[in-house]
Point group: D2
Chain length 128, copies 4
């Protein structure tokens, strides 16, 4: 508590509304599967994949964080209105340059002002 909501494979879910609910809140880590040690490596955290989330003043994605295992690398605060504002929907998307030095396991979290904390699956990056 706070509850950490986790992504579930929406292909296994029947109800359209539930697919939408899970997908639009879930952060996804997008990056190459391998990185060169010591060089800048782009990691994108995008909230939602097939669905998008409201950017209403009282209901929006207000932040994302990026962890390598238990180490926080970076986080972003997103203000309501940055994705179009009242009545609009979007996919909060932030790309961070990070420098990895050994094999990494990246996890993202997102925070919805109405529906709390959501956590991505871990993404492995081979670093050499």
């Amino acid at each position: 508590m706070p509850k950490i909501n986790r992504y579930e494979d929406i292909n296994e879910i029947d109800r359209e509304a539930k697919k939408d609910y899970i997908d639009r809140h879930s952060p996804f880590v997008h990056c190459e599967p391998s990185a060169t040690a010591g060089e800048a490596f782009k990691v994108t955290v995008k909230v939602g994949n097939e669905y998008s989330h409201p950017d209403d003043m009282d209901h929006h994605i207000s932040g994302v964080a990026l962890y390598n295992k238990d180490t926080k690398l970076a986080e972003a605060t997103l203000l309501a209105g940055a994705l179009g504002g009242q009545g609009e929907k979007g996919n909060a998307t932030v790309t961070f340059d990070v420098v990895l030095t050994k094999n990494a396991s990246l996890v993202a979290q997102s925070y919805c002002t109405k529906h709390g904390v959501w956590e991505s699956d871990a993404v492995s990056v081979a670093v050499a």
Copy 2:
């Protein structure tokens, strides 16, 4: 106070150390000159252009913020070590998706744990 340090054109500066000091602390806004209203538009804030900044534990770029005129759109906190850590240098770089609805004037700020707040020149974006 806090002092807002502003970018100066380093071509007008003679001393190499001063060019480096100004450039490595200054945030730059990188984006297309025009955007489509209501669509996601990528804005990159990169700290430093020709020079890079230490990522030492006691001396690093700990955050960037992005404004459209006086409105904050987003900000990011960057933890020491995310760009290689002690002894390494890098260019803190964060890309935000934003949705603009009319002509915009984007300004970035960066924060160095030793040398304070730095502000970019404004970048105009034509939105149609």
Copy 3:
């Protein structure tokens, strides 16, 4: 740009609406005038003094920061609704413990989602 709005002495202002506008957005630093070096010292940043600010979803105080001269000590992000929410008003108030080692000059900033950045007068703290 972004414009840094600064506190003006509201006793010098005639119009009630302007007094309210300036006061309710201005952060004030509240602390003892002297501190013991190396010991925890409480510094409160309170937004507004005689007036209070809406906590509406689309119009609230979303953050405060505390600087000692040009050095950021701490900042806080305040989510809409934390001060009562839609239709309510309040004074965003955050107290940080800081440890000072020599004479300090404390400055606070606050950020309103509609009216931008506001900066307090500096408060001197004698440290011995």
Copy 4:
């Protein structure tokens, strides 16, 4: 993942080093047991109770967050050096004014740059 470390009662722990490790990382919620609906209510998040944590540049408490059940109310970023800096120890302490409207269950998290996320026990507040 990231792992959420939780407070354990250190009276049940034998090893002094482990008592210290758990206590100095754990956030504690300090507040009155009851609040008046609609009025400002002070909630202090303090990291550590009987032990204190280093404020070294590469090892410090860099943030705390306060939740009411699954709703984030506020968070604070604390910069290295704010509690005395290299070689010193302290208890990161932030007090937020919040306005509660019904019975609440407050939970705090803290983040150590070396030892990850820590979560407090929940504290119930009766609101009338």
